[in-house]
Amino acid sequence: MEGWDPNTKSTLTQIPLLSTKAGPRDGTAWTQRLKEEYKSLIAYTQMNKSNDNDWFRISAANPEGTRWTGKCWYVHNLLKYEFDLQFDIPVTYPSTSPELELPEIDGKTQKMYRGGKICLTIHFKPLWAKNCPRFGIAHALCLGLAPWLAAEIPILVDSGMIKHKDDVSSTSEC
């Protein structure tokens, strides 16, 4: 965890860790894991709200809890940039982490695989592997997606690759 800012570190220590090592094909053990995922997501969301740092919405898109959809946003120069967020729980979960996707900015940055999967290879995957099975979805958002947004969105905005939604509508009105 060297190189991480103290804020992220202290947030991380407050997200409840998980204990069940089970993937979506493991039946009742997966249900148990899913409960733990919910608990840690609830705790993380509550924490973000109380710290005035609310930055995502995520919920299971199917009853099995293998597909998740929602939104995430990032504030840059006092403007809020919001994106759709989606991911599947891989069959080999939790040995392999979920691949977080931002489909709206697919193809706009090099730090992304096809289909809008953000690049987690260097900054997150080794960390996930070392902490398997204790890390869950909440940890992936906190340590995978949040730093990616912080690093990429300012560059994408400044280079004009993404525009704020108000700018887009005002130009179309002209």
Partner: protein
């Protein structure tokens, strides 16, 4: 197209007849000749060959298998035609997978199953196999198009989905189980799975499927700097599975998880990919047709032209539960294996007629058993040389399963779901 050209010729003929001016006749004649040329070219264009019922060893120009069947005459392969009974699944039809598929197709493999969810892009053109006009097609469709032209005898099945998702994985498993091609075959419906994927997640998914199906497979990979690669044979329970020891950890000390994928612009060379595909298919042929030694692991370092080989035993503390199950089965089957090996040895021994090795022994040379002299000094397999100690305890307790949450009363899944939704609402 031929009909269109014929119409033009007819039109030209009638034009020629109706032309009053003979000075224009020559140019009309020239036009007619050019159209005739085009007709000939169209006729000689790509025509697929018909299917071949039996592989023949007859040496004629029109026999697509004469050079392969010659392997029998040379004493390399006992029965080459068996290749038509085999099914091979290739997961990942990229720089390595597509070339491996072409090689197996040209070798006349019975059935090929191709898995990939990507599309052909112009950025792939620095590698072999795909052509620029195929850009935009799915890799599986483009591969089937080319391969069925090259060898119509091969049964090709293409699967276009991501095997790491829950649904994709189930489809992947059932396609491997399907035995309609060769119903008499034991185990799964394929003889070998070749992993030619470019990321850790997909490799882990192939590993999981093969461990569950007790399916032998081979893994291949090319480094992101495009100058080294490896192939590895994985027999569930007998050799290390992919989760036991990811190959790059062994080869270079690099954590496999830090490997980048194609999308984030890794380097690639047609040469390295071709070499690795060649090594992979060579090992496949040796495995299927039973000749030579099948390499358990073969590395390729192109900068130094270094080809390391090694064997890897399964990890008794592997994180994959199915791998541990397979390991147990393998250990339990040891007496049967030993008996079979002994019977084979005896059969071989009995075939050699016994006679003294040397008729005379002018210098009275005799062989002395040297066991007694050395046994005292030979350390047991586990002992370390003097001066070395193990950093970690040698008999580490297998990772205890973490106690699952005990407060079952409060956590109803539906309740938790509602709690999160409530938080999401405001």
């Amino acid at each position: 197209m031929e009909d269109g050209l014929k119409d033009i010729i007819d039109d030209l003929d009638s034009l020629k007849r109706s032309l009053p001016d003979p000075s224009l006749q020559a140019s009309v004649l020239q036009l007619r000749l050019r159209v005739e040329n085009l007709t000939r070219m169209a006729k000689s264009g790509p025509v697929g060959r018909p299917k071949v019922k039996d592989m023949s060893a007859e040496v004629v120009d029109s026999n697509p298998y004469s050079r392969l069947m010659a392997l029998q005459r040379m004493g390399i392969v006992e029965n080459y035609e068996r290749i038509r009974d085999f099914s091979v699944a290739i997961v990942g039809v990229g720089g390595v997978g597509s070339v491996a598929a072409e090689m197996l197709t040209r070798c006349g493999i019975g059935r090929l199953l191709l898995y990939d969810y990507d599309k052909v892009e112009l950025a792939n053109m620095n590698r072999l196999f795909f052509r620029p006009e195929q850009a935009g097609m799915t890799k599986t469709d483009a591969a089937v198009q080319t391969l069925s032209d090259i060898n119509p005898d091969v049964v090709l099945e293409s699967y276009t989905f991501n095997i790491t998702t829950v649904q994709g994985f189930e489809t992947f498993m059932s396609s491997l189980r399907n035995k309609s091609f060769c119903p008499s075959k034991e185990g799964s419906g394929v003889d070998l799975v070749l992993s030619c994927v470019d990321n850790y997640e997909a490799r882990m998914a192939v590993n999981q499927a093969c461990n569950e199906l007790n399916q032998t497979w081979m893994e291949s990979g090319v480094s992101e700097d495009a100058v080294s690669g490896h192939i590895q044979l994985l027999i569930p329970g007998e050799t290390a599975c992919f989760a036991c020891a990811p190959p790059l950890v062994v080869a270079s000390g690099v954590d496999e998880r830090t490997l980048k994928r194609e999308g984030v612009c890794a380097a690639s060379l047609p040469t390295t990919m071709g070499v690795v595909a060649g090594l992979l298919v060579q090992n496949t042929l040796k495995f299927l047709l039973n000749f030579g030694n099948v390499s358990p692991y073969l590395g390729y370092n192109s900068l130094k032209d270094f080809f390391p080989t090694m064997e890897m035993k399964p990890n008794p503390q592997c994180s994959n539960a199915v791998c541990l199950e397979r390991q147990k089965e393998y250990v339990l089957a040891k007496p049967a294996r030993d008996a079979a090996a002994k019977a084979k040895m005896e059969a071989e021994m009995s075939s050699i007629t016994e006679c003294p090795l040397h008729d005379d022994n002018e210098w009275n040379i005799s062989v002395v058993d040297d066991n007694e002299v050395h046994t005292a000094g030979v350390p047991s397999a586990d002992a370390l040389p003097e001066g070395l100690t193990r950093e970690l305890p040698s008999a580490d307790e297998f990772e205890k399963s973490l106690a699952p949450g005990t407060d079952a009363s409060v956590d109803d899944l539906e309740n938790l779901r509602r709690q999160l939704e409530a938080l999401n609402a405001d």
